[in-house]
Symmetry: C2
Amino acid sequence: MGETATDQSTPVTEGRRQRVRRETMVELKQAALDEVRERGAVGLSLRSVARRMGMSPAGLYRYVASREDLLTTLIAEGYQDLGHHLEVANGAPAHVGGVPDRPPPSPPVIAGPETDVADRTRAVALAYRHWAVSHPNEFGLLFGDPIPGYEAPTGGPTVAGMRRVGTGLAQPLVEAWQAGRVRTHPAMADPELRAGLSPVLEFESELSVEAFGLFLLAWGRLHGQVSLEVFGHHRWLFPDGCEPLYRADVEMLLSELGLFDEPTGDGPGEPHGHDPA
Amino acid sequence: MGETATDQSTPVTEGRRQRVRRETMVELKQAALDEVRERGAVGLSLRSVARRMGMSPAGLYRYVASREDLLTTLIAEGYQDLGHHLEVANGAPAHVGGVPDRPPPSPPVIAGPETDVADRTRAVALAYRHWAVSHPNEFGLLFGDPIPGYEAPTGGPTVAGMRRVGTGLAQPLVEAWQAGRVRTHPAMADPELRAGLSPVLEFESELSVEAFGLFLLAWGRLHGQVSLEVFGHHRWLFPDGCEPLYRADVEMLLSELGLFDEPTGDGPGEPHGHDPA
DNA sequence: TCACGAAGTGAACATCGTTCACGACTCACC
DNA sequence: GGTGAGTCGTGAACGATGTTCACTTCGTGA
């Protein structure tokens, strides 16, 4: 653990009090994360976390405003963890920030920056499922029943984590789009859809309306497969997991996005259209 | 409600005791369902249900073994409700069984048996989202965090409801398949996938391996969009809901399944293949 | 050294799921 | 019609939970 902490190389600006507070906070989050991993998000109990830490339940309130507050902290860190996992699969550079101490198992496929964009998209898609099936309770924490009545503040760490996951998923697709290799579909030209999508693009200016819509649909598509599997709705069909089915879906998605076609050299403004309907 | 019950036309086999017990059971489930609709599945409290019924908390245990048991009952009925909704959208005949007293709003599009299979598939797909967004907490009950450690018994009412939902979703696709109008994809030919899928077909004998896999993928694909929307992960993008995006996905799905192509007259054994990869 | 504020404790409160002994009532049977 | 058995519902109770509060302990800056 952090047992071998830098005893004297610690910056002098941080006194003993701040250090132990920081360490206690880390220990608290780790204990809560262990609880979630073992008993699920709904089973998270502050008293149990306190017991695990050898602390009085009331003492936790020096670090956490409420049980719900602790849950949202875990949610934000879960997004960061998942986002990091996706970045590694995409062949991320050294940049690693806000990643928990205990790193998750590496994704099954790790691409590199020079890898073909189809392979990178596949790697990210497989990493999404991989993280989910190896962290089922955290996946449920992030994507299961929302905390009733909770709305993530727009500037807060929760949406920051969601954005990291989103960009981690979208990164290969953005590059493919910019290389003119994404095939769009006539259904994306619906004016109502474009009208609903366009205000969003103030945030996501790297993509066109169609491309952003396609990304959302691709994410949702993969998310559905993963969600049904992780939440057990396919267990009676596939007791050993749904990886082959998921792989087939990913291949279909890649081919429908046109990522297997020859690059046309078109810019993002002129993606090659769908085959004649 | 059932106030105007058939007072004397009730079969004599049911005495007063059985009748009030049945009525109390209905009232209990309705009160619990109201609780779930208002406060979500995790907020369901037996004491609150008892208060709503003007009853002592302990009295509920004459009707329900535990809180978890009540939840699984609600889950089973929720599946039945959703399945009924899908059947109505598909233009179901008079057969209606196990539908709760208060019927849900009708699906936005109701097809008929003579409607084209693409239109019926679209109607069912739209009905899936429609039920979900108009019953968000019940959707969370069915498809959100599973009750930790609970596994639905294979013969029980839960899987019966799941099967009704599955067949309700699959019905148009089964017909399209049998009419030879479903276009498959080379990725579905993966031998490992076929091996994992084939034991399932002992239950679902109407479909081939590829067709059943395609159905599962289509379901998951739609489910993902709905799930992300209902659980609020798209609210910051689309505060007014994701219907246009979802409609685009449905149209893409229909065209990728080949349901817009001219019928070839091939039997289910010989679906027309995918366009050259 | 000393006063301030942070960290942690134990007791308490309201709520929850659940159990249990007990009274009231229903129903089948003589 | 009476009667015994079984059902229905109640109130009290137990252990657990989230949360608050007064109080002590102790690090830290002046």
